[in-house]
């Protein structure tokens, strides 16, 4: 029976590269997928593209591909990534140029586009925002981008046409992994268990190290061997959808029922109805079986027919965040930090504009969960102040009111930092699938 191996090469835009290179060298892979496009990343990338039309793809993409391409060609591994972000075409062209300079050949690079619907956003202003229920119209003048979460279709077509490097923009994370299974095994969307299983595999692998013991270790209770040398996972799966998740033997980390269960439920709401562009996956009956060390078999996934809509992430400008921090240490530091907090609060209250979501937290005490009791006397504590404003200069003032505590605040404040950032927020809407046209461009070397 036909089997394939798909590796996971990145779990987010800035992920480590070394584990991916190890997988390429020793994993006997057929495919490797690099996921690197969080909800907001694409909006920031669109902003970058507006400033320079040749930019807007993942800033580490060329760095990655320089090391990945020779190994992928040597071991005959096809690369799939959504790191094309806002500009898959430029990413394809730049990878092509780099490959030529490296004297590589036998590459067919594809760029899958169609997710960018910003041009047509006026047609959707009456749609409700999923997060708030208000019409999109309410953000009309702030919108800077709109990208649909595409499914596996474009990638499957590119694979059929012989591409061995596929660069996409906004494609749903599990779809990157489902695509090669559909292409290799010819699974039809009416085969509910198979599409559900393919989506399960994609979901388990999309965060790379997270299924191998990353974001998992908790000393004594949940020991992970050699976490410093954490490996990335791969799946071996056959045309009946039977298979397992594993890692390289000499890589650190571990794949167990527990790591798989945590990742199964990661960013999932109702396990029976996990909506992807390809199907509504049902993970409610999934189970894992460990057959040998670091080899975990999966079963029990299924799916229902996909919805008629794509989720679209609409990026919009939403003012600025100003943040400032300062530390207090040694004797009576908590009281001095609380005095500093009170001072900043009073100074900010005098400003003639509105600050939204103002937070004055003590890092080490209550910055992660509010309303913690201030019972202990720490040896050091750090005040953090953050708030949102309409204009940049106002956000700067919030940050400054922390720094000025140096000479205008309690005794012994140190290590002040300040930061001002423009907020690019995301609102989601559902757009009919029939409105979206997927295109694929190719470059051969």
């Amino acid at each position: 029976m036909k089997k394939i191996r798909i590796g996971s090469g990145a779990g987010y835009a800035g992920d480590r590269l070394e584990p991916a290179l190890e997988l390429l060298k020793k994993g006997n892979l057929d495919y490797i997928c690099f996921e690197g496009l969080a909800e907001r990343t694409i909006a920031l990338a669109q902003k970058e593209k507006k400033e320079d039309p040749t930019k807007g793809y993942n800033e580490l993409l060329l760095y990655r591909m320089k090391q990945v391409l020779p190994l992928a060609l040597k071991h005959n591994v096809t690369i799939i990534t959504n790191m094309g972000a806002a500009n898959p075409i430029s990413a394809m062209e730049d990878i092509g140029k780099m490959a030529q300079e490296m004297n590589l050949s036998n590459l067919k690079i594809a760029a899958v586009t169609g997710d960018d619907i910003h041009e047509n956003i006026k047609d959707y202003l009456d749609l409700p925002i999923l997060e708030t229920g208000k019409p999109l119209n309410t953000l009309k003048n702030q919108i800077i981008s709109a990208n649909a979460y595409l499914g596996c279709d474009g990638i499957v077509t590119a694979l059929k046409n012989g591409a061995n490097v596929i660069i996409t923009g906004r494609v749903a994370d599990p779809s990157l992994f489902l695509a090669p299974m559909i292409h290799e095994f010819g699974w039809r969307s009416t085969q509910k268990e198979l599409w559900g299983t393919g989506s399960l595999v994609g979901h388990l692998l999309e965060c790379a190290g997270q299924v191998c013991g990353g974001y998992f270790a908790d000393p004594v209770k949940k020991e992970v061997p050699e976490l410093w040398n954490l490996g990335f996972p791969f799946v071996e799966i056959d045309s009946n959808g039977k298979g397992y998740i594993s890692k390289l033997e000499d890589a650190g980390g571990m794949v167990t029922k527990a790591t798989c269960t945590e990742q199964l439920l990661y960013e999932i709401h109702d396990p029976e109805n996990y909506i992807t562009p390809d199907c509504i996956a049902d993970f409610s009956k999934v189970n894992f079986t460990t057959k040998k060390k670091d080899v975990v078999y999966f079963d029990g996934a299924t799916s229902k027919v996909a919805t008629e809509t794509f989720k679209v992430s609409v990026g919009y400008k939403n003012g600025f965040i100003g943040e400032g921090e300062i530390s207090y240490g040694g004797a009576n530091c908590l009281k001095r930090a609380l005095l500093a907090k009170e001072i900043v609060e009073k100074r900010l209250a005098l400003l003639p504009y509105t600050i939204l979501d103002l937070r004055l937290d003590l890092i080490g005490i209550n910055s992660l969960l509010p309303n913690q009791k201030l019972t202990n006397e720490p040896n050091e504590v750090r005040l953090r102040v953050a708030g949102k404003t309409k204009h940049k200069i106002e956000a700067q003032q919030i940050a400054n009111e922390v720094e000025t505590l140096y000479t205008n605040g309690p005794s012994g404040g140190g290590g002040a930092t300040k930061k001002v950032s423009e907020i690019v927020a995301i609102a989601s809407i559902l757009v009919p699938k029939k409105d979206i046209r997927i295109s694929i461009d190719y470059t051969s070397i």
Partner: protein, 100 residues
Amino acid sequence: MKLWEIAHARTGDKGNISNISLIVHCINDFELIKEKVTIDRLKEWYGNQVKGEIIRYEIPQLGALNFVMYEALNGGVTNSTALDKHGKTLGAQLLNMTID
């Protein structure tokens, strides 16, 4: 007993929604967390961090509960003024909960 003794957790975010999985180390403890770690208990535990409703899903064959908490992330990662905008640290806070 702290939940940390018998269970582990992972936190994820989607927009302003946080989800926390709570998974027992030993399947025999599943009934216990099902009984003790109720939605009401979570609402009390997270206080005004969670402004919307909480839904609990059960995945018995994996010894897991999945809590979905609405309006839990100060507007979500793209809008929040919190230090931990994803709320990734919230799950471990749950493991501090004491159960009888």
